[in-house]
Symmetry: C2
Subunit: 336 residues, 2 copies
């Protein structure tokens, strides 16, 4: 789109394109080019408002200075905030970011990875769907910088930055037990997704460690794609069947929100009727009366670690694999 090219500048200045190229890339140092020429060329560049063509440069150098960001759903607050930070750090480092959402759809995720490759991104940060394992392996084999985010594939030697989900669920469950709750229900999505499994494991381990009956019937699992109404109904049925339940632990914030809806619909109050806690923080949880106790993710930190990991992988090749599990934070409010 930029009309004027390197050549135009060179012609105008009466020098060669090499000289101009050297100057715009600040390689005019160590006396290579005379100050007078540098000044003259720079003046013309400014006058003509010349901008080097990034695409041509990319073609020549083999670097696109673009990274790809593939999240589950950019319209979700968690991922949106993550994206913001990633974008910021990337821009500061001279990288653009192109992004997309998978909506947890394997097919779509696969196409997006493909699309990013086509665009010659220098690296990808990705919230993988469960079926993406082989594609990730392929990427690794081709030595493309990749960092997994939010979830990972245990056993796969790939960089990742995730929350310590096990610890989060373990701590929250222990906290509930210490407060005297004896029959804590865990409401979650039935998923092979690593992060959700870890949460379930943390919950179960805490029950075991505190010698509480670990009755399977106290975990309610939804499949990912049933409607809000169906979830509401399932919660009701579950709670009718398990009268002894005294606390509700939701494994994600969108489930927690549905939990809130259930409570208000049935005129139940917390913590009187049920102790109520959720994984992931949310604006709603802060402002409700009572405010809801959650295990929160250090969102900015997660994002920073992820983008820094990717940048590191891009810059120096043989850094091996960067794997980080960040600690969650228990935010005790008044719902339990």
């Amino acid at each position: 789109m930029a009309r004027v090219s390197l050549k135009d500048i060179a012609k105008e200045a009466g020098v060669s394109v090499t000289t101009v190229s050297l100057i715009i890339n600040n390689k005019s140092q160590n006396g290579r080019i005379s100050p007078a020429v540098v000044a003259r060329v720079n003046k013309i560049i400014k006058e003509k408002n010349f901008r080097p063509n990034t695409i041509a440069r990319s073609l020549r150098t083999g670097k696109s200075t673009t990274i790809g960001l593939i999240v589950e759903d950019i319209s979700n607050h968690f991922f949106a905030t993550i994206s913001k930070t990633i974008e910021l750090v990337a821009n500061d480092n001279g990288y653009k970011v192109i992004y997309a959402s998978t909506d947890n759809d394997n097919q779509k995720a696969r196409e997006l990875v493909e699309m990013m490759q086509l665009q010659q991104v220098e690296g990808i940060i990705i919230t993988p769907t469960i079926g993406l394992k082989s594609d990730i392996e392929e990427l690794i084999k081709q030595e493309r910088p990749v960092v997994l985010f939010d979830r990972y594939f245990p056993g796969l030697s790939v960089s990742y930055v995730v929350l310590d989900n096990f610890k989060g669920a373990y701590d929250m469950t222990s906290h509930l037990i210490k407060k005297g709750y004896k029959n804590i229900a865990f409401i979650t999505i039935a998923s092979e997704m690593n992060q959700l499994q870890q949460r379930l494991n943390g919950y179960e381990q805490a029950l075991n460690d505190h010698h509480l009956a670990n009755s399977a019937s106290l975990v309610l699992e939804f499949s990912y794609d049933i409607s809000r109404e169906e979830k509401l109904k399932a919660i009701n049925k579950f709670l009718q069947k398990n009268k002894k339940v005294d606390a509700l632990f939701f494994s994600t914030n969108y489930l927690g929100i549905i939990g809130v809806e259930y409570m208000t619909n049935h005129k139940l109050t917390m913590p009187k009727d049920y102790g109520f806690v959720s994984f992931d923080d949310h604006e709603l949880f802060k402002f409700l009366k009572p405010a809801i106790t959650v295990v929160a993710q250090p969102i900015e930190l997660l994002a920073t670690e992820a983008i820094n990991a990717l940048l590191t992988l891009i810059k120096k090749k043989n850094v091996g694999v960067i794997q980080k599990k960040l600690p969650p934070k228990l935010i005790v409010r008044a719902s339990e």
Copy 2:
């Protein structure tokens, strides 16, 4: 990054690069290339997992198949949802999107426009900051496809897709008046930003049309960058001074959220103590008891219109200017 090139394929297949190029671009139609060759080349392409280099193609064709999206803040639910839809439609049309947030900072916005240009985007959707007018004019002069979003510059002949903010505020205020409120406070950000001004105008016009005193003291204006605490204090001071206020109309959802905080902090209930409404919907508003009446934006529609407008501008040059004001929707719940 892709190892194999067009040339490799050509050599392997024993044909020229032209032939391969024609085939991968589906220009092998009307009997140009023999089916046998097409089949053979395609087979090799598949075997070698060849992917044409987008950058080289872009350099050659002058098209980057990338559009830029510059929003105020991608971590904000409204913009995040917008982005999701834009991304979807763009991808469906073969476009990638690179994005960034301005945080309402003129300097940053300017740099982002520059960055997008460098990246040779084919068009930009932008939520302009107030100081970006001249940059937008420059873009237009250079005939680059641009569509303004969420706000625009009255008088500037540039494409835009925005909400009819005036109507939204007018309708909501009228609704409040019809419900019997006589002293409606309008709480907003002091901003030359067109969209906020329109809302203020709508509010004032409604008061005028219903012959209600349009006392300036009933509008509370914050500057954009004061803290939450300061806003809370200012609301308190304002309400102490204006005892007759019987309804609160917040001009954006993040202001509305602070309003909710104010109400709970002071143990005020709605609509008993104050009728309470807000511009823009939000999850919190839906789940609060009582749920909050809002004027909502048709988010998906806004996004679709914006990206379609941009795509239109990109495809056919002389379509002139596309300007759309979409109607808001009053969602009456129980807070007024």
